[in-house]
């Protein structure tokens, strides 16, 4: 192929951004795709966020029957909340006091995008994909998650057709919280399994400036 590949100089000059634009323009000129069609697909992707996954978890925490359905048939249960994941299989793996789950795609970057949005860079990079299957505790520690020795770690390797979502443990101190409050403490990283939710109340607004009379 005459077109260059992986050359550092062309990469730095925005080569792949320009190549994408060239291919898009040609496909539009040939009537193969329309600009509006592309815009629509982009809007669908941009609308996907980990908050969908967080909503699934919050529902499972407050509704034991939903939790049971979620663990038995992940795709069916997320569809109940209006989330469409297409033909993919979805397995929801539940953390317990004795078991912590974490997900990866060692071969690629398969990720439950319909529930979490676009994967973060670290999920796609070689280091996480290489190491989390061999030394998950060390990797989790790099994310700031120290697990007790008596908690087993199970690593789930995704495939093109099989995606995973972690159902974290509902933290202590959240008795009586509403589904909306619970949703707010479920982070993207907790849904991948590199973090766990904690019961933190909303942070008080930080003072923009010292209170009058207190400034030195």
């Amino acid at each position: 192929m005459n077109l260059p590949v992986a050359d550092e100089a062309v990469k730095d000059s925005g080569y792949y951004r320009r190549l994408q634009a060239a291919v898009e323009e040609l496909l539009i000129l040939k009537g193969i795709v329309g600009r509006e069609e592309i815009d629509r697909e982009v809007a669908i992707m941009e609308a996907r966020s980990y908050r969908r996954g967080a909503a699934v978890v919050a529902r499972a925490w407050v509704d034991p029957a939903y939790r049971a359905r979620l663990l038995a048939d992940g795709a069916g249960a997320v569809r109940e909340l209006g989330i469409e994941i297409g033909a993919l299989h979805l397995i929801v793996v539940e953390n317990t006091a004795q078991l912590h789950n974490v997900i990866v795609c060692t071969l690629c970057s398969c990720y439950p995008r319909a529930l979490l949005g676009m994967p973060p860079d670290w999920y796609k990079n070689i280091e996480y994909r290489s190491r989390v299957v061999r030394e998950p505790r060390a990797v989790l520690a790099e994310f700031g998650l120290a697990l007790a020795d008596d908690v087993a770690v199970r690593v789930h390797d995704s495939t093109a057709d099989m995606r995973y979502l972690v159902l974290p443990q509902r933290p202590e101190g959240t008795q009586g919280w509403s589904e909306e409050q619970l949703l707010e403490i479920v982070s993207r990283d907790a849904l991948v399994g590199v973090a766990v939710p904690v019961a933190v109340p909303a942070a008080p607004p930080s003072p923009a400036s010292p209170a009058p009379g207190l400034a030195a």
Binding site: Y16, V23, L27, V33, D39, S109
Partner: protein, 126 residues
């Protein structure tokens, strides 16, 4: 090379080296690697548009637009394979860059676009 049987009794052969053809550049599970960078970049417009185009082209109805009814003009597995064929260059490219590379290769290999017209168009883009 090691082999054993999995829980269903199927033979499992595992390449234990890093340089034999059995392990492609993408097949990194279990290999030693450095610390994980937690820096994240927000997905850029061109990355989104690349994936949007690939999604549209995977529709088997798409080929009808160029007289190839019933034919998808892109494939997910094919896209991965083009990335994996980068060999040592695989790790030099970011995920979104591999996606653009793969989309371009797919379109050329399928005869939807040719390299000369892509190169000419590319020259007109700042």
């Amino acid at each position: 090379m090691t082999s054993h049987e999995d829980s269903r009794g199927a033979a499992v052969v595992r390449d234990t080296g890093t340089s034999t053809p059995l392990r492609g550049p993408h097949d990194v599970g279990g290999l030693p690697a450095g610390p994980i960078s937690l820096d994240e970049h927000a997905t850029t417009e061109w990355e989104y548009r690349c994936w949007a185009i690939a999604t549209l082209l995977r529709d088997p109805m798409r080929g009808a637009r160029i007289g190839r009814p019933g034919e998808a003009l892109a494939g997910l597995d094919e896209s991965r394979r083009h990335g994996e064929e980068l060999g040592d260059r695989y790790v030099k490219l970011a995920y979104g860059e591999r996606a653009v590379h793969a989309l371009t290769r797919m379109l050329v290999r399928r005869g939807v676009l040719d390299e000369a017209e892509i190169a000419a168009r590319l020259a007109s883009i700042a």
